[in-house]
């Protein structure tokens, strides 16, 4: 078995694809690119494709990763070139590397996500107001948010899952950049951070019209942030 790790971006118009649709788009593009997929056994064989993390519908991302099992060894450079030609508009293939046997699963190692949010302002705010709002909210020891799950609404504290937060202003929008926890230890959603900043920092912005960009997914090793490609 031969496994490759693919780094890709997802922009307009495919940012509206669900996780499942994205999976299908990869499978079909691999077939169009004549890259031999490895399949599961059974009545309905399916390809073995594993994403680092599900990306919510509507979010643009510059740093997504997927591991794909191939039925035969193919030069990663060739996979990259052929796959890029076969992908629908809006997907960019940024790198392909062979995954050595025994490497930990992508999903198990990715634990940080970096986001940039752009939120239209509802009233003119200067940088100082934004900075003050951020420090006010960061001073709170816990950020409680409500999350709707299968068993109803639960309350969680997302403050421990926030590792970096900066804010600035462009034109008439607030820009927030954040590094948050993701993966098996739990996910912090960027909208939740925005909600908390608005609440604890007493900021008024048009949250309905937020644009979210995922800058990347990372593997935090102590103080160091590595990309899933770096760890190979």
């Amino acid at each position: 078995m031969f496994r490759v790790r693919i780094a890709f971006s997802k922009q307009d118009p495919v940012r509206w694809l669900s996780h499942l649709d994205t999976q299908k788009a990869f499978e079909r593009a691999m077939r169009r690119a004549a890259i031999p997929l490895a399949f599961s056994e059974g009545f309905n064989p399916h390809p073995k494709i594993a994403f680092a993390s599900a990306l919510a519908v509507g979010i643009v991302s510059f740093g997504e990763y997927v591991d794909v099992d191939l039925a035969a060894a193919v030069d990663p450079a060739e996979v990259r070139e052929r796959l890029q030609k076969a992908m629908p508009e809006g997907f960019g293939i940024h790198g392909v590397k062979a995954v050595p046997p025994g490497t930990q699963a992508l999903m198990a190692v990715v634990n940080r996500a970096q986001y940039r949010l752009r939120v239209p302002l509802q009233e003119p705010l200067d940088e100082a107001v934004i900075a003050a709002a951020l420090s006010r909210s960061l001073a709170e020891a816990s950020w409680l948010v409500e999350r709707e799950g299968k068993k109803g609404v639960s309350t969680r504290d997302i403050r421990p899952g926030l590792f970096q937060l900066t804010g600035s202003r462009t034109d008439d929008a607030l820009i927030l950049e954040m590094l948050v926890q993701t993966g098996s230890e739990g996910n912090v959603r960027p909208e939740e951070v925005l909600e908390a900043v608005c609440r604890y920092g007493d900021l008024s912005v048009d949250r309905e019209r937020v644009r979210i960009l995922r800058l990347g997914l990372f593997v935090a090793q102590g103080e160091r942030l590595l990309t899933p490609m770096d760890v190979l």
Partner: protein, 655 residues
């Protein structure tokens, strides 16, 4: 800022995040064709009056989309009915209905062409026109407005839509549609020169409007001379004082008294795209659709498709293999469906299946056969096919007794069915679906009892076989019934539909009768079937009812969660139209029919003969293997049956 940019920005910034399944509206699918409009003479929007995932499963769209876009100076873009959540968002933001490819409003197009796949999508047509800001009634539209066109199976009787449509195309579109679009492009070019010349006169608004009207009329008159093009405004329907329909005749000179449907004579040489759009979201038929043949010669008497797609024309296996390979390469799909009205009838089906499997198995590309006959041969084919991927099996005996199956000319015997079922269970299937119709002409309680009895026998047979094989699994049989709808251009067009109360009683009977936990029973809403019957055989007077029902909020009538029967009844009442007159009236052989001026090639005398034979439960044999039944299609349309397997004859159950 141009409106195109506006639409796109409002979508991306505000609307898409609020709606379910946003990829219904984004476009951008692999193999989408995005043309530069500056080099184009004529632009058409293909409008499917249902939601994206239904429309994208339509083979006709896939063929015509690539056909038209391959013409250097034509462009075709797509538009579907927005789901109500999106419609609401669009209306509240003032976003007009737009095409997926360029996100242009429909008013930018020369032609908006609706495909008429089922009667219950008609209210969506009005809703889409309204959402596009286009006048609903043809007579209110001016020269600069898009031409509203329709085609597809329900064009067999488009009369309930007549006042809304500028032109209707009868028959197959591969040759007809480019011809019509070219004629529109030519007319526009010539009229354009005239407009510049006359523009200096600085015409007043009234004058300009009159000029536009007459120009539009000239265009429609011109188009009406193209064989296969029906312009409803150039015909008048007359009714007697008692409301009886008298006939439809042309009101202008040079307009044909009968419009004849157009078909392609050689399907093997007909256009078929070697590329195909690949939707992102799940659509109903999400696979390569390979059309192996067109038409069906089995002559089931209820079947409208059997009438309107005649005669049988096959593609050669060489062509199909080439197309399959190209399509898999172009799409990356993992399944190829061999589509037609009856794929097991394809004279080269066995070698074709074997070769397709051999070619594509390594890439794990499976085959599927969506329409199978009730015979052991079909099970053999299905067995062959499921070597790559396991698929379900569905058979349609249609009726519960031999007598009634003879009435509908379904030439399937009980022993055929039991043999088929035995073969299916022996070959590893544990669940089957059986389709029946209720409310067929001459149906009695015995026929209904027959449905239940057949289902039970299938269960017993299956259980015995599974036990013999030492399998612990239980058999599952799904029985599904739809209600018979009499349709235009079939031998049953003279028949009334069974009263709704009777249909509901029959459903209740079967529900009670099919109590075995190994059998599940599902049925279609009889109220929807009733409206289908009304519109399938309706005349122009139904247009006002449709308009009224839409005004009262009816959309997506084919979807049970939106179907509002009471509202429909109110609309009928307000318009003074009795739906029962259309659904329940037995039509005399000499009565004029609302679709008499549309010639589908099927001889009226043949339909009468078949109707009489039906009532006598006498069979008509398959014209491919036996003598010609005299339906009239081949001589009228100047074509003939075209089989590729030479000496092959249909399976012996029909002989």
């Amino acid at each position: 800022m141009s409106p195109i940019c506006d639409i796109s920005q409002i979508l991306e910034d505000e609307l898409l995040r609020k709606v379910t399944k946003p990829t219904r509206y984004t476009g951008g699918e692999h193999n989408q064709v995005k043309k530069d409009w500056s080099g184009v003479d004529v632009a058409m929007a293909f409008a499917f009056p249902d939601v994206y995932e239904v429309g994208m499963s339509h083979l006709g769209l896939r063929i015509l989309y690539h056909l038209i876009n391959e013409q250097p100076r034509m462009v075709m873009e797509r538009v579907f009915a927005p789901w109500p959540d999106m419609e609401k968002a669009m209306r509240s933001r003032g976003v007009p209905l737009f095409s997926l490819e360029s996100r242009r409003p429909l008013t930018d197009f020369d032609v908006v062409g609706f495909t008429l796949q089922y009667e219950m999508s008609y209210s969506n047509i009005l809703n889409m026109l309204d959402l596009a800001g286009i006048s609903l009634f043809a007579e209110e539209r001016l020269y600069g407005d898009p031409l509203i066109m329709a085609g597809g199976p329900c064009a067999v009787n488009p009369e309930p839509l007549a006042p809304f449509m500028d032109l209707i195309l009868l028959g197959e579109g591969e040759e007809l549609l480019p011809r019509v679009l070219q004629a529109i492009a030519d007319f526009k070019r010539d009229a354009g020169l005239g407009a510049i010349a006359g523009g200096a006169a600085a015409a007043g608004d009234d004058l300009a409007e009159r000029r536009d009207r007459s120009r539009r009329e000239a265009l429609l008159l011109h188009l009406a001379t193209i064989p296969g093009v029906y312009v409803p405004a150039l015909y008048r329907s007359e009714y007697a004082a008692d409301g009886c329909f008298l006939g439809t005749t042309p009101i202008r000179e040079g307009v044909p008294a009968k419009v004849k449907k157009q078909i392609v004579a050689d399907l093997d040489k007909a256009y078929f795209p070697t590329t195909s759009l690949v939707p992102f979201m799940d659509v109903v038929h999400d696979r390569v659709m390979l059309e192996v043949l067109r038409g069906c010669s089995r002559a089931c008497r209820f079947c409208q498709a059997g009438s309107i797609y005649r005669p049988v024309r096959e593609r050669s296996p060489e062509t199909l293999k080439r197309q399959a390979e190209a399509l898999v390469k172009a799409t990356g799909y993992d399944e190829i469906a061999l589509t037609s009205l009856s794929t097991a009838d394809y004279t080269c089906v066995e070698p074709l299946i074997k070769e397709l499997i051999a070619t594509h198995a390594e890439q794990k590309v499976g085959l599927s056969l969506p329409s199978l006959r009730v015979d052991a041969f079909s099970v053999d084919l299905a067995k062959e096919v499921q070597k790559v991927r396991k698929t379900g099996l569905t058979f349609a005996p249609e009726a519960g007794t031999q007598r009634l199956r003879d009435v509908i000319n379904k030439g399937v015997t009980e022993s055929d069915l039991m043999e088929t079922v035995e073969s299916a269970f022996s070959n590893g299937w544990t669940s089957l679906k059986l389709y029946f119709m209720i409310g067929l002409p001459t149906e009695t309680e015995e026929d209904l009892e027959g449905i239940a009895r057949l289902a039970e026998q299938v269960v017993y047979k299956g259980t015995a076989i599974l036990r013999e094989k030492g399998m612990n699994k239980s058999v599952r049989v799904t029985v599904s019934t739809s209600s018979f709808v009499p349709k235009a251009q079939t031998p049953f067009q003279w028949e009334p539909q069974a009263p709704m109360a009777d249909l509901e009683e029959k459903q209740a009977f079967l529900k009670k009768r099919l109590r075995d936990r190994r059998i599940s029973y599902s049925w279609h809403d009889a109220r929807i079937s009733f409206l289908e019957a009304v519109f399938a055989k309706g005349d122009r007077r139904l247009a006002q009812v449709l308009h009224r029902a839409w005004q009262k909020g009816c959309v997506f009538d084919g979807w049970s969660e939106f179907f509002r029967y009471e509202t429909w009844l109110e609309a009928f009442q307000e318009c003074g139209v009795d739906p029962a007159d259309y659904a329940y009236r037995a039509i005399g052989y000499d009565d004029p029919l609302p679709w008499d001026h549309l010639d589908f090639g099927v001889d009226r005398r043949y339909l009468i003969r078949e109707h009489k034979k039906a009532l006598a439960a006498a069979l008509t044999r398959d014209c491919r293997a036996d003598q010609c039944a005299g339906c009239g299609v081949c001589p009228t349309l100047g074509v003939s049956i075209d089989l590729r397997g030479g000496d092959h004859v249909p399976s012996p159950d029909r002989l």
